[in-house]
Amino acid sequence: MSVASRSAAPPRLPPGLAGLLLPVGAVLAAFAVGAVAIMALGVPLGEALTAFWRGAFGNAYAISASINRAVALALVGTGFVFAARAGLTNVGGEGQIAVGGVAATAICLAPGIADLPLGLAFLVPLLGATLAGGVWGALAGFLKVRVGTNEVISTLLLSFIAVWLLYWSVQSEALLRQPMTSSATLPESLPIPVTTQVPLLTGSYSSPVTLGLPLLVVIAAVTALVLSRSIFGFQLKAVGLNPVAAARAGIAVGASIVTALFLAGAMGGLAGGLMLQGEQYSLKAGFSSGYGFDGLVVGLLARNSIAGVIAGALLFGFLRSGGISMEMGASVPSALIDVLQGLIVVTIAGAAYYVDRGDRK
């Protein structure tokens, strides 16, 4: 009896190449839309582009600011990818940044911290921020293990709760609000002491890249290695793909879930600590500035690749810098950047179908 023949495979992009072409294409398409919109707004395209370029890459300061923003986004995104490996969707970045910032401020302002030697003055608060974010994330993990609460829901709710806790903490003098020296004292914390600020790599405020950058590089590299090569990464993956089979295989499923969300939250918390101790120096309501959601989007778009996280974070980081400059220099509303960002997200999410079709199941 003849054996069923196999016809030639239809051409399909190799997954790696498609995975690269897709985001690049989406970004280019979004930029094209942006260019049309700019012209529709009656702004000469050249002028807008010049302003964009100047704001994003024009000088050391602009580049540094973009990098710092990208570091925060990349941390949240890396955390997201970490949790995603265990099949978890952490949408609580905003809240994790917020609790990180609160913890960092509280520790920076605690007596004695500013006088710690050996850089501990800024490392201890950063560590505190990391732990606080981690606990905030682990809470969702704990709930998932204990009562089966969907983590998308719990991290989102915890995020809103954290944002309002932050609001409360700078409204109340019993918490972190600065002493009311005059009746006009703003609802902010005191500025943190200089020794607790995260050092700048160049030491100069005209290129204020903080120590966060090397920190991120190390964290990203370790994460990539852990996820792709380690036993722990393998276990996370097993838990994410099939928790029951993982449990049968002796993997501690509950602990893996809590750990994964702890680590995701910790990276969010660290991002919050860096934003506060590296740039803002005093805590205000809304200091997280939506970076948690931007970071989430970066993580989602990276589609489980740490390199993708870095690329996405840089893109969003520079995009916003350029957008700010475009509004100042060429009167293009920076809401346009939101439109572009939204378009990029939507395009990549939609086009993922064409990349994933081949390798599903």
Partner: protein, 525 residues
């Protein structure tokens, strides 16, 4: 097993064909699942489709039901061109299908499941329930219309599926392995229903692996092999051996009782060294209450010697799954204790259980036994990855070496060790799971739950060979199966589960088949 009166098959006058397929081919990407299929289904006949796992039987059914569209060829229904664009088309043209996997919504009631997809407008559930009850009575299929499907037994769900089809008064009724999950009694009545439906002028197309069913009900048989028709028979009851050889493309050395025969061969103990004596596993008054407080296992006490194979017979849902979960460490008994090699494992984690030399082949190999998206190599060492750990990182080279060794030893047929586990055929998936569990260090007890479900004869043979070999090396085996014939062929003794209790125990000898069957149905022997 109660005998049901079935008209002698194969003697019907040739009826006009209702549905014909001409030169049908179907490819999935580069994979050709079906090629050059010519087949016709006539009104009034029960037409059985036979073939190995992956031969293309379900694919063929799905083409008729409009789930897939053929890549080549054409179909005609009552002489008119028939090219369904989807199930709704097929349903509208009078074709109904019971799928290999249930397509019921567990959260809805029986009646809502039956009505789902029907009219969109307002429902009069009471009137519909009466209509359905009348229909169910006509075919002897009792149903509780307002029960939630999730609460029903497997057999009851199957009945819902069939009533769902019958409600539409189909011209062609397709049943894809409808008996795989039924108990002997239920199989009997299902076959009766098939006959009845066919007698009413409908073409009944039934996929099955069970030769006994073909003997009892088939008017005609078409055998598929690797996507092509490899044999046809108009008097199947008399040509079973030929059909089997057409199916597996090997001469069928054994008689009509092919499955049982194959296994019986495996059962013959060679004169080898005697297995080490001693107890392999012991259950001591194990009980289990589910979340709603219903007692699923009731004071089960059982002891298994090394080298012994104990079969668990029983209709599904009588506590076997719960026992499996407890032995796997995924559930804790409410009462009682269990031991392996003298160690109390009642509260042990899955990891400790594995460490104590217990291997588990779970009844659901997809949900519990494997991770489809991981590679074959990863699945082979799912619970033992740490052995490849070097500074916390996985030594992939060593893992692949060892994986290739296992693949060879256990005859797992796959394109390579790195292919996704889910892309293996069912039989090979099962062999891989067995490879992992049988290589558990210091293995002394193996639970094999439904290890051959859905497998074809060739694969069944291999699987039982492996289990048999393990027993000979001194492993105590608890073999759970819904196929009584297999248990009789493979096990040393058989315990019967009914409502969470051991209702009785017999030596595994065909003379006790009737008695065991009676116990399974809840009557005392």
């Amino acid at each position: 097993m109660t005998e049901t009166v079935v008209p002698v098959p194969g003697t019907r006058a040739a009826a006009p064909s209702l549905l014909t397929m001409n030169g049908i081919g179907k490819s999935f990407g580069s994979f050709v699942a079906l090629a050059g299929i010519d087949i016709d289904f006539a009104g009034g006949e029960v037409h059985c489709l036979l073939g190995e796992n992956g031969a293309g039987k379900s694919t063929l059914c799905n083409l008729v039901f409009g789930i897939h569209r053929p890549s080549e060829g054409a179909m005609r229904l009552k002489g008119e061109a028939y090219a369904p664009s989807g199930p709704s088309d097929a349903l509208a043209r009078g074709i109904a299908m019971v799928h290999q996997h249930f397509s019921l919504v567990n959260e809805l009631t029986v009646i809502d499941n039956l009505l789902m997809g029907g009219s969109r407008g307002r429902l009069d559930r009471k009137a519909e329930a009466r209509r359905i009850e009348a229909l169910a009575e006509e075919f002897g299929l009792a149903l509780a219309p307002f029960a939630t499907v999730g609460d029903l037994s497997v057999g009851e769900r199957q009945r819902v599926e069939i009533v769902k089809c019958l409600m539409r008064r189909p011209q062609v009724l397709i049943l894809d392995e409808p008996t795989a999950v039924l108990l002997p009694d239920e199989i009997g009545s299902l076959l009766t229903v098939c006959r009845q439906v066919a007698d009413s002028g409908c073409a009944v197309v039934m996929v099955t692996h069970k030769l006994a069913e073909i003997e009892r009900v088939a008017d005609r048989v078409t055998v598929l092999h690797r996507g092509r028709v490899s044999a046809r028979s108009d008097r199947p009851a008399e040509e079973i051996p030929a059909l089997v050889s057409a199916m597996i493309q090997r001469p069928a050395a054994r008689s009509g009782e092919a499955v049982v025969g194959a296994i019986a061969l495996a059962k013959r103990k060679p004169a080898g060294p005697r297995p080490p004596a001693g107890e392999a596993m012991q259950l001591d008054g194990v009980s289990f209450d589910d979340r709603t407080g219903v007692r699923r296992l009731d004071a089960v006490t059982l002891s298994i010697e090394r080298g012994e194979i104990v079969g668990v017979a029983g209709v599904e849902g009588n506590g076997q799954s719960e026992l499996g979960a407890i032995l796997a460490g995924l559930a804790r008994p409410t009462d009682g204790r269990w031991f392996a090699g003298g160690r109390d494992l009642t509260q042990a984690s899955p990891r400790e259980i594995t460490r104590s030399g217990v291997g588990i082949v779970p009844e659901d190999r997809h949900a519990v036994g494997s991770i489809g998206k991981l590679s074959l190599a990863d699945n082979l060492f799912l619970n033992r990855m740490r052995q490849f750990s070097r500074l916390g990182l996985i030594d992939r080279r060593r893992q692949m070496e060892k994986a290739r060794d296992y693949i060879q030893r256990f005859d797992v047929r796959a394109a390579g060790a790195t292919v996704a586990f889910g892309s293996l055929s069912g039989g090979n998936q099962q062999k891989a799971v067995l490879a992992r569990e049988l290589t558990t260090p210091n293995l002394r007890f193996l639970l094999a739950a439904q290890p051959t479900r859905g497998l074809d004869i060739g694969a069944i043979e291999t699987v039982y060979g492996l289990i048999r070999d393990a027993a000979e090396e001194g492993v105590g085996v608890l073999l759970v199966s819904s196929e009584l014939d297999e248990l009789i062929a493979v096990a040393d003794r058989i315990v019967v589960f009914y409502r969470g209790r051991i209702a009785g125990e017999y030596p595994a000898d065909p003379v006790h088949r009737e008695a065991i069957g009676t116990l399974m149905s809840g009557r005392s022997a």
